[in-house]
Amino acid sequence: MAGRRILITGIADQWATELARRLERDPQVEFIAGLDSEPPAADLDRTEFIEADLRSPLLSRLIPATEPDTVVHCGIVWYPTAGKPARALHDINVIGSLQLLAACEKAPTLEQVIVRGSAAIYGCEGASPSFFTEDMARKLPLRTRFQRDIGELENYFETFSRRRADVTCTMLRFQPEIAAGLATPLVRYLSLPAVPTILGFDPRLQLVHAEDATGALLAATMNPVRGPVNVAPSGTISMSRLLRLAGRPQVPIPGQLFGPALSRFGRRGLGAGEVYNDALRLLRFGRGVDNTRLREELGYEPRYDAVAAAKDFAEKSKGRSIVPLPGLGALAGRAI
């Protein structure tokens, strides 16, 4: 497909910006438009910035006017931030997606829609399959607000893909990302000098390396497949091992106190609004998904497995080393 015209929503999002940057280098891509309510933080050369809110009714005229063959929807907000409190998340994620799809219906040039969705749809359960495959969504109750929002917007996309059978709809279900210095609450949490964890629990985690997160998004844009695809590294790593690799001491806190304790951090240190249930459930139970479809059908082989991603994070974030323990040396000396 030469001369591709790609529209990216939520261009201010770091993953969308990175995708645009890579697409700019591709001579096959004729035109890139980035849509968001605020401009991207980084400079983009030939991406045309369209200032519009996803929730705005203008969208249904804007989108067909750019004549896109591909829409990449990166406008889903995963966690509350300073400007986007938890209340606004539902509006942005669900109503925004609905508006976007309404606009897409009126774009006759459209051939594919790619959504940067979330593996949160599977939930985090103590007793569940250790690796969710794509067909296991909604088998377990959707417990949190964010899960229900993701469930709802996935429904809209399914309906859309049935109505516009000529359009290939790819729903990417991302596990949370990891990389040193990444601006996400989870990475800031893992970078705390001492990391509070839930007493008696050691979740199995599967964190996507930032490079693979972009790689998978790019691969999906270039080689779309129908339906949901899990984006995750192979293997898993336990929280305790990840923290040991990163040289960060664990501070186990009883379950009931963990939420409030993290919320205090959440508002100040983590740059998130209040920590909400999704994060708490992930840090208690963890989640693993199967990435066979990503590797075999989408044709993207993650460069980092779960352990390598954690090791890379550990190595590159070691600079900010653990708090020195001056008392310990003296104590060992005095014991003799």
Binding site: F131, F201, S234
Partner: protein, 317 residues
């Protein structure tokens, strides 16, 4: 041990602490400092310090299920004690456990509070099989929402009981252990001991057929007497969210002491594998076949249970 040896040992430890102190004082992290200081220690101690330091750095292996072989080996002596001294287990028919490739181990289930039968079958394979390997144990889901138990079970090879997990582990050519009776087996009253309950819907047979894995029936005798269930408090169960709340002669009356299992005498017999390779994977859809095979496994285990009860004789001596 003589006094001179004691002094030498104490000096070595003092030297270690001094080295640790200087190491940390000079800016090393505690793990590295401990490793360097350990050079003067006796060999066994030095190995433990080195291993602890290595684990502190996260330098160890976990498989994708969260199984941690080093951890399992470290807690194994406790289960070995239960195996050899507490329950004096005699295991038979270990040749029936394939030494490589996938196989589904199917066993009767008893002993309410903790899957001791699963850990003891693991013990038999690890201690007495010529080519031991750690099986994956399908554990009642409830264990995985409990603090501590959740990650303990996982690190020694437990998985949340789900056909998806069993199928995936079999595809990876693991030994997979299932207890088709589930809670119905563990929560049955003492008067019904060694009477096999319904084998669910035969889901384990479907999984084995799809994965083309042989089924190895196992009969465990002795596990019914460790916590003789004389009652089941549904009120307590609702309160704690447990699938059932056992009342035994010692629990909950003696508090935590009541959790000590009684020292019954055990026998474990592994039966000849049931080969399913003659059926195509689609045979898993055939309800009739699934029920027949499930019943065949159930009868085999039931027969072996009675046989071994006779062989064992008295339950405790």
């Amino acid at each position: 041990m003589s006094t001179s040896q004691d002094t030498a040992g104490a000096e070595a430890i003092a030297g270690f602490l001094r080295g640790l102190g200087t190491g940390i004082g000079s800016g090393l992290d505690p793990g590295t400092a401990a490793e360097r200081a350990a050079s003067g220690l006796p060999r066994g101690l030095r190995d433990s310090v080195e291993r602890a330091a290595r684990r502190m750095r996260g330098d160890y292996h976990e498989d994708e299920w969260g199984f941690d072989e080093e951890f399992a080996e470290a807690v194994f002596p406790f289960f070995e004690f239960l195996y050899e001294r507490w329950w004096r287990i005699e295991a038979d028919g270990l040749v029936n456990v394939p030494s490589h490739g996938r196989a589904l181990i199917v066993s009767n289930h008893a002993g309410s509070l903790f899957p001791f039968d699963g850990t003891m079958i693991t013990g038999a394979i690890m201690k007495e099989h010529p080519l031991p390997r750690w099986p994956k144990i399908m554990v009642l889901n409830w264990a995985f929402v409990l603090p501590f138990l959740s990650f303990f079970m996982r690190r020694v090879g437990g998985l949340p009981a789900s056909p998806h997990n069993a199928a995936r582990a079999l595809e990876q050519d693991h030994l997979v252990m299932v207890f088709p009776e589930g809670v119905k087996g563990t929560g049955k009253p003492f008067s019904e001991r060694y009477r096999l309950q319904r084998f669910g819907r035969g889901g384990f047979v479907e999984v084995a057929l799809r994965a083309q894995a042989p089924i190895v029936p196992v009969a465990v005798v002795g596990s019914e007497e460790i916590y003789p269930l004389i009652g089941n408090s549904s009120a307590l169960a609702r309160l704690s969210g447990a699938p059932f709340a056992p009342i035994t002669p010692t629990f909950p009356w003696l508090g935590p002491l009541g959790l000590i299992p009684l020292p019954s005498k055990w026998r474990i017999e592994f039966c000849p594998p049931i080969d399913l390779s003659e059926y195509p994977p689609e045979a898993a859809e055939d309800r009739r076949l699934v029920f027949d095979l499930s019943e065949q496994v159930r009868e085999t285990i039931q027969e072996k249970l009675y046989e071994n009860l006779v062989k064992r004789g008295s339950a405790f001596i």
